[in-house]
Symmetry: C2
Subunit: 382 residues, 2 copies
């Protein structure tokens, strides 16, 4: 790989001349002839600036770090797709790391980022495993952090969509079409996105829901169903999920198998995301149950698969590009010290009504005709 110095030697020019011309900063002061000569030679020899040298000299890397927690969820892949574009648009380059790629070692991932001297970090779908001790590591290194679709309990700047309003709307709709016993499945996380889902359901029901672990739930399920028959109720069931991976499909599949084997069905199962809903669908099919005839199922995230008539999944859609762009903007502001205070951002989502929740009008022809409804409002707290 050719260097500026070598180009200078080739042309009988000093390295600083070549540097000024290729660096672009003061290139206009040089004669057109020299400029063209240098630029042409550089191109001919395939010169590309050395990012590392530039970073050393400038004292800044121009890099933002992106941290993922696995890309199994389609929503995470949407973020993975949008963030780099938003970052480039903001004039930064980026480096991507997935906690899973390092066997779950968060510390190692953070050290890589610090060694690369990233100027800021964006964490996608931040899980609880990312505790305050890790935020502290980044703080000590002077690296600001923003999370997109993550937990904001650690006093981090967070961008998210208003899942509370969305799940409330969904709960209201389920009631409207006649469902009374609503079951919400969540994972082991107690992070904000999860809390919002629960809050939303409770708001729709007008009362708090019991929140049970899987085993507790099955101990009381039969009695509960009998006693509450005829009234509108909700239960939150906390499923076991592996840490560092979102195996919602498997968790909801296993839970549904067990649930269906009791032969006592709720009216609707609301899953935290579409992956979970697919797990319910699989268990239902296996058991010979039909959705939505025997029970309704809903998800969240608007995965591609849910659009197919096999599922026709009622879900919640968020504008991922919007959130990613906002996250990058907030991070850039923090890097440039434009904001010293916490300035999270919440966007509204859309309720997408398809067939799985038992709507009256059936699906259309070639494509599933989906209604959508805006949920929540764009909010800037603090």
């Amino acid at each position: 790989m050719i260097t500026q110095k070598e180009i200078g030697e080739k042309l009988g020019l000093s390295p600083s001349t070549v540097a000024s011309i290729l660096g672009g900063s003061a290139s206009l002061r040089y004669s057109k002839k020299t400029r063209e000569l240098v630029v042409q030679t550089a191109k001919k020899c395939g010169y590309q600036p050395n990012r590392a040298s530039r970073a050393v000299q400038r004292g800044r890397s121009n890099l933002l770090g992106i941290i993922h927690f696995g890309l199994a969820l389609e929503i995470a892949r949407k973020v993975a797709f949008e963030l780099p574009q938003a970052i480039n648009a903001a004039g930064y380059d980026y480096m991507v790391v997935d906690i899973q790629w390092h066997g779950g070692s968060i510390e190692r991932v953070l050290n890589e980022m610090i060694q690369a001297r990233v100027e800021g970090v964006i964490i996608s779908n931040m899980m609880e495993a990312f505790g305050s001790e890790y935020i502290e590591i980044l703080n000590r290194a002077g690296i600001p952090v923003v999370t997109v679709y993550g937990d904001d309990r650690l006093n981090i700047v967070a961008v998210s969509n208003d899942m509370r309003s969305a799940f409330c709307e969904m709960g209201l709709h389920l009631q409207k079409v006649g469902h009374q016993c609503l079951l919400l499945t969540i994972g082991e996380s107690q992070a904000r996105p999860v809390k919002e889902r629960i809050d939303g359901l409770e708001k729709a029901l007008g009362e708090p829901c019991p929140q049970l672990k899987e085993d507790e739930f099955f101990q009381g399920w039969a009695d509960f169903r009998q006693q509450t028959h005829g009234s509108t109720v909700g239960i939150v069931v906390q499923l076991k999920t592996k840490s560092f991976s979102y195996d919602f499909a498997a968790a909801n599949y296993a839970f549904s198998q067990r649930l269906f084997s009791t032969d006592i069905l709720p009216d609707a199962i609301m899953c935290s995301n579409d992956q979970g809903a697919f797990g319910v669908f699989n268990a239902a099919t296996e058991r010979g149950l039909s959705i939505p005839r025997d029970l309704a199922v809903t998800g969240a995230d608007d995965d591609e698969f849910g659009k197919y008539p096999m599922f026709g999944l009622t879900t919640i859609r968020s504008d991922v590009a919007q959130s990613c762009a906002a996250g990058v903007k907030l991070l850039k502001d923090r890097i440039q010290k434009k904001t010293s205070f916490r300035a999270s951002k919440i966007f509204q989502s859309e309720l997408v009504l398809r067939t799985s929740c038992g709507r009256s009008n059936p699906m259309g022809g070639e494509e599933v005709a989906a209604e959508t409804r805006a949920c929540g409002q764009d909010v800037i707290p603090f």
Copy 2:
């Protein structure tokens, strides 16, 4: 972020002393007291080496580049998961880029890699869009290239699994259980992994198959089916897929809808991958067809979803970790000039028999009982 120089100033030591101790190379020559002092101080102050400075001085980045073409396919995500681990195990760090993240601009991605001075590049699931002009760019920059599950027509070192043997085995099995008219759907790529699938099917049939574009296929389908009734035949149908994205599910869904609307069914549809098979499943369900009662469907890649009883998808399983490790090893050898010649590697795969291909014995209890059968042999050509 503290530097070695600053640690030296703090302790009244010269920067080179600090450097030698923290760099590890010659640290044993220093007194135990000095060593511990430096190491403790560094830890206390959160010192982390500056990757860029180190790269500048050493003249090498210690980085390998990973290029993806989208992570929608589960097999691509498996590669994304395994490669970093294999790379770290080989003593390198890595940078990851997805062509999709840059709106499909391969050139831009390559320039990022070159500017980061990666010492080698691994391309995952390389598509045809990655033409010889791009290989040429990397060659000129002196960067060796290896592809895992990619095309090897460009004279690149390639690691792959023996899809020819696997598809042959699958074709033979389908015949064994009574299927005669076998339809193989492929995308627009003519890359080696695709060719191998076709070759495998043709080997199983003992004769070449006609290869048709979607429209051509439907022109002759009814006649063809009638004329070949009672004999074992195969057709390859080339579906339209978007470049830079593997939307196999959508392509196979659309094709199957059209196919099923003719009311003339093949005995089996073999898809290039499981995603495609899911598309067929969706179209079949929509049409009220049952798999495998009305027709058989097979895939490849062994996606998680295919294991569920909803699909019970017969598929082909490859050891991704094995291929990734081999790819990294080949790349490392090329970087260290241990191999000047082409040395690709082919591993065997496994045929996973589930219910979708219409086997006699039905699925078991909790899990789908799958038979598996080894396909092909580990081969080192050249």
